[in-house]
Symmetry: C2
Subunit: 295 residues, 2 copies
Amino acid sequence: MLRRCAPLRKRFAFVAGNDGKYGNADKNPASFRRRHAGHRRRQLLAGQDQPGLLGLVGPFGGCTAATILRALIDHPQRAGDPLSLTVNFCAPVAEGAFDLDVRLVKANRSSQHWCVEMTQGGGDVATLATAIFAERRPSWSHQQVVFPGAAPFEQARRFPNTPMTWTHQYDFRFVEGEPSFYGSPASPPLDAFSKQWIGDRAPRKIDMLSLMSMSDAFFGRVFLARQELMPFGTVSITTYFHTASDELAAEDITRVLAVADARIFHRSYGDQHGELWSPSGRLLATTTQIAYFKA
Amino acid sequence: MLRRCAPLRKRFAFVAGNDGKYGNADKNPASFRRRHAGHRRRQLLAGQDQPGLLGLVGPFGGCTAATILRALIDHPQRAGDPLSLTVNFCAPVAEGAFDLDVRLVKANRSSQHWCVEMTQGGGDVATLATAIFAERRPSWSHQQVVFPGAAPFEQARRFPNTPMTWTHQYDFRFVEGEPSFYGSPASPPLDAFSKQWIGDRAPRKIDMLSLMSMSDAFFGRVFLARQELMPFGTVSITTYFHTASDELAAEDITRVLAVADARIFHRSYGDQHGELWSPSGRLLATTTQIAYFKA
């Protein structure tokens, strides 16, 4: 049985690319660092010209979350598939290099519990994450929730670029609930539901990293509810993976059908919950988050 | 700005009562320990006569989660209201005393990020939790989700005791989806939705601790889907609080209306998502979890 002890800690220091692809298939942090040295670690949520949109947390969290997941998947002691990842965004992340302190807290035959802290320049913790990996043993299967379905990706209109430059990495095609950020603030708030295709702008086979990043690639529900942009930031996101890596690889897809909705906005915080589906109708991941908004 | 450093770590050692009430209104761990010394820390999920029902994780996690939340609320450096709590159950918890290693990872003017590790007898980490506290500043409010509504508590039938002794602490009254554990295994699986009132068997005013514990007090969705009990254990639970403490205190309620459902069971894991409502129709908390089941 593995125990928490010094040798299980491993420090990673690498820089993620600005292509939103969390290192592609390159599993070697050193090589990855060399290739991407000098690139910005993340895109800013709203670009530098609109610092008021940075919000509480800062740049796109999906890439940070995927980067953390990648560090875990690449860890020599990792066993099993990602089951759950929770990422708490403690402070804005600056451009440039960062350190990940990756710790295997507990492991047994069927699961592993990890804790990851991201810091920059030896400063405070900027991101705190916990993850669970598990052996996905065979069992009966049942999808209780119904596949939302949609017109094919090719028939849906590509969503135009927004001032949030991270969105340029994705090909969003809304089927329902396409947001409009530039109207008058809606009062009372509008329905926050949306259904959309999400793929990478440069098509890339969907893997666990894609699912993690895409699970944070919904627009803030509050933007849809109010029909305007405002300072906003995800505070915590949790994503559950409902597919084993081998099953996901066998899907061989480059896009997911995604739905997202909110239940409540109250006292400066709102929630979001979402689902990521394969085009063939398999539920691949579910996600939830709590986010700050400035009223 | 608070930093991660030794003085912010504080070790708690106290024993929770077996009354499912996570310390009642007593805020003093030492006094709490004295009052409850010798009591069992948690109820077993299925009692000692049915160890096959203990599952991956063991006894009722809601009490553990509430105990962790209580340690945070009582921490001298805590500021703001609970916003989010994620609890990862790493290993079964044995009866008896435990230690909580409570660490304030990062704080700023409006929020705090905490990490808590529970151990027993200096052994491996049994429970790993992260929490976020936040100042709930005023904003516009909007409930996107519709109050599910239900016949009044008094008109609903009290759910009979189950072999899972922790359930004896609660007064469950199902409005829809009352589970039946003793039929033939359902194939294909049944609908896993349920709507129910949840109160303490000995009525107790609902506070944040109640919400945390009750958010794990749904029966495993897989029990409803299959109409049978089986080895089962929550692996990770995340609960978001959508009310400030002062608002919750003003509600002055002793029960919540709760709904829960599952989206998928696959490769030995299934999810759950739920909502906890005040009888007056205010959404107090939302919760999600991923759980192991033995097929």
